[in-house]
């Protein structure tokens, strides 16, 4: 499948901003099964400095600064991505996936092999997922007892979150604590991904946050509207000697060709699509438009 993703973020300011420094996390990474055919990022007004870099988690980030007064900032990122799930290691036929239990993963971690050291960071507290509550742990343990198969347990966890949690785009903000989401059982993809990660880490499993896009389909018989998509997030769990396996708790599915990955992190904090520091006063407004369609 070939997709074109257009992600446009516009900021409008009441008063001129004198200068700003920003980091974008918008360029899709590449792996077996996802190929970046073409990419461009366009910033208005023209940045005095713009450069690509690689972050701690090997994502491709883009730093840019604007040093002229401006009342509007537009970041337009366009990617052409080729997705082929069939090229990815096959979860369903893998013997390793079939036999690995929760306890096996924990034992592997203890061995401290180079493979496991590289994922160790994903078992620990991170900015938005820390001091995991006993409630979350209890919720996790229903599906993730030590002798449970990791893949099956995680799959069940995903299904439970899909069933128990209600999608509500008005409930949470970036700053809503995990425990509040757990209590209300409401939120959006970002919340569900982070709750899942907290569950997995609470029993000692390495879990990471995946930031990206999902292709949505219009209601039957209707034309798809432009710019009505949004950026998406899900999670993955690590199975030793096999690798990371993705799960999408918002849509109750294993991500395949409709999911396009931008970056990985320990949680949202590591990989926000755009972040920045700016200097000026007055109010600001943000508008985000994302459009994904077959190219």
């Amino acid at each position: 499948m070939l997709f074109k993703v257009i992600h446009i973020t516009t900021y409008d300011y009441d008063e001129a901003i004198t200068h700003c420094h920003n980091i974008a996390n918008l360029k899709p990474i590449e792996f077996l099964g996802q190929k970046l055919v073409n990419y461009s990022i366009e910033v208005t007004p023209t940045p005095s400095y713009i450069e690509e870099d690689i972050d701690f988690f090997k994502n491709i980030i883009c730093r840019f600064s604007i040093e002229q007064p401006h009342k509007k900032l537009i970041v337009n990122s366009t990617s052409i991505v080729e997705r082929n799930f069939d090229l990815q290691p096959d979860i369903y036929s893998s013997l390793i996936v079939k036999k690995t239990t929760v306890q096996d993963v924990i034992n592997e971690l203890k061995k401290g092999t180079e493979e496991m050291l590289s994922v160790h960071d994903f078992t620990l507290d991170s900015q938005f997922i820390k001091n995991i509550s006993p409630e979350i742990k209890q919720y996790a343990e229903v599906s993730l007892q030590p002798n449970r198969n990791v893949f099956e347990g995680t799959n069940e966890l995903m299904k439970r979150i899909f069933k128990d949690f209600t999608f509500d785009s008005n409930f949470s903000t970036i700053a809503t604590p995990l425990d509040d989401v757990m209590k209300a059982k409401k939120g959006v993809c970002q919340d569900f991904a982070q709750i899942s990660i907290a569950c997995l880490r609470s029993v000692g499993l390495p879990a990471r946050y995946v930031s990206g896009y999902i292709e949505t389909l219009p209601p039957p018989g209707k034309e798809k509207l432009v710019g009505t998509d949004a950026s998406h997030a899900w999670f993955s769990v690590y199975i030793p000697q096999f690798g990371w396996v993705d799960f999408d708790p918002t849509n109750d599915q294993i991500p395949k060709n409709q999911h396009i990955t931008t970056s990985y992190g320990r949680d949202y904090f590591d990989v926000p699509p755009l972040k920045g520091v700016l200097y000026g006063s007055g109010n600001s407004k943000m508008k985000v438009s994302v459009d994904i369609r077959p190219a």
């Binding site: 400095y49 701690f56 730093r63 998509d229 926000p272 520091v277 006063s281």
Partner: protein
């Protein structure tokens, strides 16, 4: 021989080791000479000298800020007269150990942010690094051009039961204490020179020379003149005194995050005239707070984009951002293995026995022996969370066990050690107290230069286990004594030849934040002084209760201070009935903007932010001023006589302070801004007073009294009499206090002075005389130049207001206000430069 009686009541009642008195009651020979001097001076004189030291430190404003301390910002630093001694021979071996440790930590730091081979080779467990809050992932793989990654290392040492000095802690983030140790040395030398008679004490001056050289050599590009700044979190930080102290001792400007700005991947200091590129930053802000773009987004202590400037090698930061990961007791159990890994040798300095709870065997040992141990988290974020388990209740122990089991890798347990004691001088004689020595090393060529001595901190009470400045306690001068005299100790050794010309000298290069503080300190000082004088005048009238003008004067207080309704509102009758009650609010309610208390507070804050520019005399007078103000008891708020006396004393001190400012700070250091602030406020207050008292017409008797009061509050009565030798009349008064060209208290004089000072301000793009600020003040000057006094006073008898005078003063007031705004907008970090974060987009499918 020292006087044995010294130790009569000393009795070391612990089983521990004492530095001086051995278990067989003999005296450590290294201390003999000191104790001899001590005996010669005698207890009585030592008590006097100790008092002198306490006084000197307080007078010099040596402070240590304690968070949440009722005493507020400035708790005096405390120094005990008895120094701590280590003999040169022992010190040399300690020094060797410290150098080894610094080298080791340097390599560890390089590895943690580089190849992480220590983790890959299982020398250190991953959690010790990954779960430590000081591990900043954004600093990964940064390459530095400096000779070392760890440029300053500090260690806390204490003498263990085996008689050797042990390492208790490492300080690598932004080690504090060098400035205090230097001040300790100066204080002891100054107050008790006899103590070191016949003793050769090593001096730290060549160490400071190395330190200074390190700053210069760290510049990413070799230049003739390197621009170096000291980055401080500001006056509320616990060691702010030291930041200001080092700034004046080393001669580099003290800046806050908002003085700096990143442009084009370089960091600049904002000065009055332009941006100047900074080469080296001596950092006293914790790493995580240094860059709101990449690190803590809500930090206002750093500079957005700074980390990328570091990555591009366009600035050197000392210590580099991320070095806080080494302040990590979780590393201690692995230090010997790290040493073997890098150097194939053992650690020279022993360390406190520590068990990292992330390992199963160690964890079980800790849990079984908990009551004998001290438990702490691996990072210093929660300072309060050090558990002395023997002191915990069984519930608290259970809670701690639970915490350890939940995240074992976050905890380290350490053996509870009885460290050695040393004699402390108290008014009851000598007392044994626990001591901890902080050492300092700086990178020098391929190795490190270690300060001979350092800072010795002493436990607050006789039996206290903890030694910490946050919790009180005192300090000692730290002597390395040498039986062979090696260096002259003349005054010249205090200074060194500095090849690096300070690139930030001169009014053009004044950091704009400093300029702003100077401007506001001038304004607040003027406001405080004028308000105090005015209220004092009214209070004096209140004593003389016959005064016909009293009501007018009381109302004018409300207008002058803008604390409404006061004497002007609906309840004015109540206010007039008990005027002192309302005046007490105007004086003492620090929550009311315009009150004297508020102005004094604002004045203190702005001066405190300028510490590094102060002379010692300034501190003394400043301290005395705030002291007499703060010591005034609320019980006396209705005591007219006592309030007048208080105002007398405050006014005298403020005037002394004004004189000191003018002779202590150079125009290039920003005195110009201070003057502009001072004159601006005085001019505004002069206008307010005149509008309150001169615009309305009264009967002859009342008017006479009012004119007299106005002149009195203006300290101009004698001048009037001298100049006019006549009965008071309104025309002459206006001529004197508003329109006189050469009288320094007149409005015209002040406005001309502001114009002259504004014309000396730097201006980047154009002739300053075309600038908005200058044009505005010039317009005010022209207005007053052409003023016609006759038109102000000539009114028809039936009209009770001098409307022309009022209109004239209102116009002037507005122009001065506009000038002040224009200066603020042109030269300072103005409010439209507020730093904030880009709105985050939630991932929301």
């Amino acid at each position: 021989m020292p006087d044995k009686n010294l130790f009569e009541k000393y009795f070391n009642d612990f089983e521990d080791y004492d530095e001086v008195l051995k278990s067989d009651m003999t005296i450590n020979p290294n201390w003999e000479k000191l104790l001899n001097n001590f005996s010669t001076i005698g207890q009585e004189e030592l008590t006097e000298k100790q008092k002198q030291i306490d006084w000197l430190l307080a007078e010099n404003g040596v402070t240590y800020n304690v968070y949440n301390d009722p005493k507020g910002l400035n708790r005096p630093w405390s120094l005990n007269i008895i120094p701590f001694i280590i003999e040169q021979k022992e010190w040399l071996s300690i020094e060797k150990g410290l150098k080894q440790r610094a080298e080791l930590l340097d390599l560890t730091l390089k590895d943690i942010y580089g190849k992480r081979e220590l983790i890959k080779n299982k020398i250190i467990p991953p959690e010790v690094v990954y779960s430590h809050r000081g591990f900043l992932r954004n600093c990964d793989q940064i390459q530095y051009n400096t000779s070392k990654n760890l440029l300053i290392h500090s260690a806390d040492l204490a003498r263990g039961p085996d008689g050797r000095m042990w390492v208790v802690n490492d300080r690598t983030e932004a080690p504090s204490g060098m400035g205090y140790s230097l001040e300790n040395r100066f204080s002891i030398r100054h107050s008790a020179p006899d103590l070191s008679k016949n003793i050769h004490v090593e001096q730290p001056f060549s160490f400071f020379k190395d330190y200074h050289q390190l700053l210069i050599d760290s510049a990413p590009v070799k230049k003739k003149n390197t621009t170096i700044v000291i980055l401080t979190p500001g006056p509320h930080n616990e060691t702010y005194f030291e930041h200001a102290y080092l700034s004046s001792y080393l001669g580099y400007p003290l800046v806050k995050g908002n003085d700096l700005v990143v442009r084009n991947n370089k960091v600049f200091i904002k000065t009055l005239k332009e941006l100047i590129q900074v080469d080296v930053i001596l950092r006293r802000v914790d790493g995580a707070y240094t860059d709101p773009l990449e690190l803590k987004g809500n930090s206002f202590l750093g500079v957005a984009g700074l980390l990328n400037v570091v990555r591009k090698n366009n600035v050197s930061i000392i210590n580099p951002i991320g070095s806080g990961v080494l302040e990590n007791p979780g590393l201690i159990p692995f230090m010997n293995s790290i040493c073997k890994y890098f150097f194939k040798e053992d650690l020279i300095l022993p360390q406190i026995a520590s068990w990292w709870c992330g390992q199963e065997k160690e964890r079980n040992f800790v849990l079984e022996n908990l009551t004998k141990l001290v438990v702490k988290p691996i990072d210093r974020t929660n300072r309060e969370h050090i558990y002395f388990c023997e002191l915990l209740s069984s519930d608290e122990l259970e809670e701690l066990k639970k915490q350890i089991l939940e995240k074992p890798y976050r905890f380290v347990a350490q053996e509870k050690i009885s460290f050695s004691t040393a004699p402390n001088f108290t008014n009851k004689g000598l007392e044994p107290r626990k001591v901890v020595c902080r050492t300092f090393s700086v990178a020098k060529n391929d190795s490190y230069s270690v300060m001979p001595g350092g800072l010795v901190r002493v436990a607050a009470e006789k039996e206290k286990l903890r030694v910490s400045n946050q919790r009180g306690g005192t300090s000692k001068d730290f002597w390395i004594t040498n039986s062979v005299k090696t260096a002259p100790t003349s005054k010249q050794r205090y200074h060194w030849h500095n090849n690096n010309t300070n690139t930030l000298a001169g009014i053009d290069n004044l950091p704009s934040h400093t300029a702003e503080n100077l401007f506001w300190s001038g304004r607040y000082l003027a406001r405080t002084l004028v308000t105090a004088r005015y209220i004092r005048m009214v209070l004096n009238e209140l004593v003389d209760s016959d005064s016909k003008s009293l009501d007018v004067l009381l109302k004018s207080i409300t207008h002058l201070t803008s604390i409404f309704p006061g004497f002007t509102g609906i309840n004015e009758e109540a206010a007039f009935k008990d005027p002192l009650k309302e005046i007490a609010i105007v004086l003492f309610d620090k929550n009311k903007q315009g009150s004297l208390a508020y102005s004094i507070q604002a004045f203190s804050n702005s001066y405190y932010s300028l510490r590094n520019l102060w002379s010692k005399d300034m501190w003394r007078v400043f301290d005395a001023t705030t002291k007499s103000w703060n010591d005034f008891s609320p019980e006396n708020h209705n005591n007219l006589k006592k309030i007048i006396k208080l105002l007398d004393s405050i006014i005298t001190k403020l005037i002394a302070f004004m004189c000191l400012i003018e002779e202590s700070i150079l125009v290039e250091q920003g005195l110009l801004l201070y003057f502009i602030g001072l004159q601006t406020e005085q001019a505004m207050m002069c206008i307010d007073k005149s509008r309150a008292l001169l615009v309305s017409k009264y009967d002859e008797q009342t008017e006479y009294e009012i004119l007299e009061s106005l002149l009195d509050s203006h300290e101009s009565l004698n001048i009037y009499r001298y100049s006019f030798r006549s009965h008071l009349n309104i025309k002459n008064v206006i001529n004197l206090i508003l329109l006189d060209k050469s009288y320094s208290r007149s409005l015209k004089y002040q406005l001309n002075r502001i114009r002259r000072d504004v014309s000396r301000l730097p201006n980047k793009n154009q002739d300053i005389k075309l600038s908005n600020s200058y044009l505005l003040i010039k317009e005010a000057c022209d207005l007053i130049e052409n003023a016609d006094v006759d038109s102000f006073v000539l009114t028809e008898d039936s009209v009770f207001t001098r409307a022309q005078l009022d209109e004239f003063l209102a116009k002037l007031s507005n122009l001065i206000h506009q000038t002040s705004l224009s200066i603020t907008n042109t030269y300072f970090n103005h409010s439209d430069q507020q730093q904030r974060q880009l709105i985050h987009q939630k991932q929301s499918v």
